[in-house]
């Protein structure tokens, strides 16, 4: 008996213009990896470059290699700016972690809006965003105003009605929500924020490399994001900051390190911020991580973010179709917008048994992840996920649910979820 849903996977894979990009990544076994939204796969080019960087550039070149290493943060930023994000060279630099970058940009934004006493954040924003802003609000005696957002739908411009006013200094939202995958309307929200004279800071972690991030189109002021998800730069690879060109001379970030200093090796007596995006660096950058960002960003740029987003939409649409057909009848609910333009490249479903089912899936050779309170999150990295993989992953999920085999797994959460 032919399964028409399965046949379609084959047709979609056969017609997929990004199919050749799968070969650019390391596949050592037949694991069904549906968690590229959390940690992307290792690109072959990155494996080769890191080996050479460690063994030749560090091992043999030693300190002399800094002649080329010194420009990597800027090169990585420009590669992201022009090939992945909607930005210009000189508007993005790769440095520090997302959390530290959030702190730097949010501090700078608050300094640029003296007298305004409110920071706005969505209540379901990624924890580190909320915590960083909570710390800043507490230190400065400001109000942290949260937008109550339905966790399955993400923040809408309408949610900001009654929240935005002339007291607001800064609004920080995720472009794609980590839990639901809901994608915010960046241009509409940025416009609403600008109408009250506040600055807009976007967290692009779950968006960059999956969907277009219309920074220029929307006039966004500031953005941060990580590189280890859809950008495939590896665990703990450095994050990036985006600062709109015309803001770069009017804001100052608070951590005055020697890599943000003009004429760094003069080692002069007083801090004078470097021109442009360089001032948003702080200390010595992690060199190997910068190389991994460059390699990951290059692959994304070569594939093209529009093509990636189109495949992401098709993968998630197909996944939702399988979900509706096979999983929903068992009492599971979709926690991701049905409209492709309103989501990123991951799909989240929920059910009280989600944690146990997550464990059963891993034992069945499928890697998704789990998010509190009861969410099974399934990522479809467009560069290397096949429609066939989606079909097979959902087939195994269906088997686990229909057989009740998940009941053999503990309800006790592990330390890392």
């Amino acid at each position: 008996m032919v399964d028409p849903l399965h046949s379609r996977a084959g047709e979609l894979d056969a017609a997929d213009p990004l199919a050749p990009f799968r070969e650019r990544f390391v596949f050592a076994d037949d694991l069904l990896y549906l968690d590229g939204n959390s940690l992307g796969r290792l690109p072959v080019a990155t494996r080769e470059r890191l080996r050479r960087a460690v063994e030749v550039e560090w091992g043999t070149g030693l300190i002399r290699s800094w002649d080329s290493w010194i420009d990597l943060a800027r090169e990585a930023g420009d590669t992201l700016a022009t090939g992945v994000l909607d930005a210009s060279p000189g508007e993005v630099i790769v440095t520090d972690s997302t959390s530290v970058n959030l702190y730097k940009l949010a501090s700078a934004a608050l300094d640029a809006r003296p007298g305004r006493r409110v920071i706005v954040v969505e209540d379901d924003n990624f924890p580190t965003d909320r915590y960083v802003l909570e710390g800043l609000a507490k230190a400065r005696g400001l109000e942290l105003r949260t937008v109550a957002v339905h966790i399955d739908h993400g923040v809408q411009v309408e949610d900001l009605t009654g929240v935005l006013d002339s007291d607001v200094a800064l609004v920080c939202l995720s472009h794609v929500a980590y839990r639901s995958g809901a994608r915010a309307d960046m241009p509409a929200i940025t416009e609403a924020v600008h109408q009250v004279g506040a600055l807009m800071l976007w967290d692009l972690c779950h968006a960059a490399g999956a969907v277009p991030t219309p920074l220029h189109v929307s006039g966004a002021d500031l953005a941060v994001g990580c590189t280890y998800k859809y950008l495939n730069a590896g665990p703990g690879a450095p994050a990036y900051v985006y600062v709109k060109a015309d803001l770069q001379t009017s804001i100052t970030q608070p951590i005055w390190g020697w890599f943000g200093q003009r004429d760094q090796f003069a080692m002069g007596p007083d801090y004078e911020p470097a021109a442009g995006i360089q001032q948003f660096m702080v200390g010595s950058p992690q060199i190997f991580g910068l190389m991994a960002v460059i390699e990951g960003a290059r692959i994304t740029a070569e594939a093209g973010i529009e093509a990636i987003a189109a495949k992401g939409a098709a993968l998630t649409t197909y996944a939702i179709e399988l979900f509706d057909e096979w999983i929903a009848p068992h009492g599971w609910a979709l926690a991701t917008p049905r409209e492709a333009k309103q989501r990123g490249a991951h799909v989240t479903v929920h059910h009280p048994a989600a944690w146990q089912v997550t464990q059963a899936l891993k034992d069945a050779g499928v890697i998704p992840d789990f998010r509190t309170p009861d969410r099974l999150r399934i990522g479809f990295a467009p560069l290397y996920t096949r429609f066939e993989d989606v079909h097979e992953g959902f087939t195994r999920l269906r088997t686990i649910i229909e057989s009740g085999s998940w009941q053999g797994y503990s309800t006790a959460r592990s330390r890392i979820t």
Copy 2:
């Protein structure tokens, strides 16, 4: 004709208990590398571990490898605490860059001394220390009081007379000065700082892995340091923070990220700092860098910091002897203390031609480094530098100076020095 100075190099190498450690590092050619104080050599164990980490743990294990990665920052901190620094497990964690860590600890210290309006720093402290503190002083309206220090001798406890008073919240000094190699008397200075009720923050960058850092003995409150110098963890490897155990519950660092959160994966609504040293983390740590720190720290711990310091003293003593004999007569001056206990493992000499001579040395296969304004800085990493290397390096330096070949080099500084 037998050169007695050369014979002694052979005798010292033959008697060196650390000589076998040289084999633990990668040597691909006969380069005379005398810059381990800036970027340490690649350990063989690190090369192997990084290859495996990238290709197997990331490449194949993917997100599942976080089960072991999650503890690396703490493991690296404990390895440093017990094997390199004079600290206890749970007092050190590896995270971020030195500059970001300085910011976190200095901010926390200032919050812990409300009402006090002075930060003290030496005027020849490493630039990033001065800049970070300058930024904090400006943001908080505090006074940055600089101790004028002779750049060849480093800060003495006597230099603090008239500087320390009950207005001082925080004193930040380098244990070993980056420019001169002068080693500060950590116990005496810490005691003087505590007598006025201020907190003491030590920068261990140029000390850790070269000399003992008596944190416990001195009662030091806080410390930071990098890992890419004598700890051989590679370019941009993560830095560390030390927070004295009994201070950990009474101070709070300002950057509230999800890796500093208690029960991180609950992703709860409000920030609650993790117990102990964990609260000094912020965002996702660079995993490969943490592994390199662990491997580098292990080698240091195995050799023993006392044995390393003893060899460092012997290497620098021998270098100064060669300098006095061969180089000083040509108008060069020593810019490092002559008493071994008052210096680290690098020796600095100065002369108006230092920049040109530095370039000539590089062309002669010897790698030192240069520091403004006219300093030739020569590092002797005890784990892999031989007395023979010191003799050969100074022989080539002598040839360059006596022949005047350095005059063929440009006085124009390169971008990186």
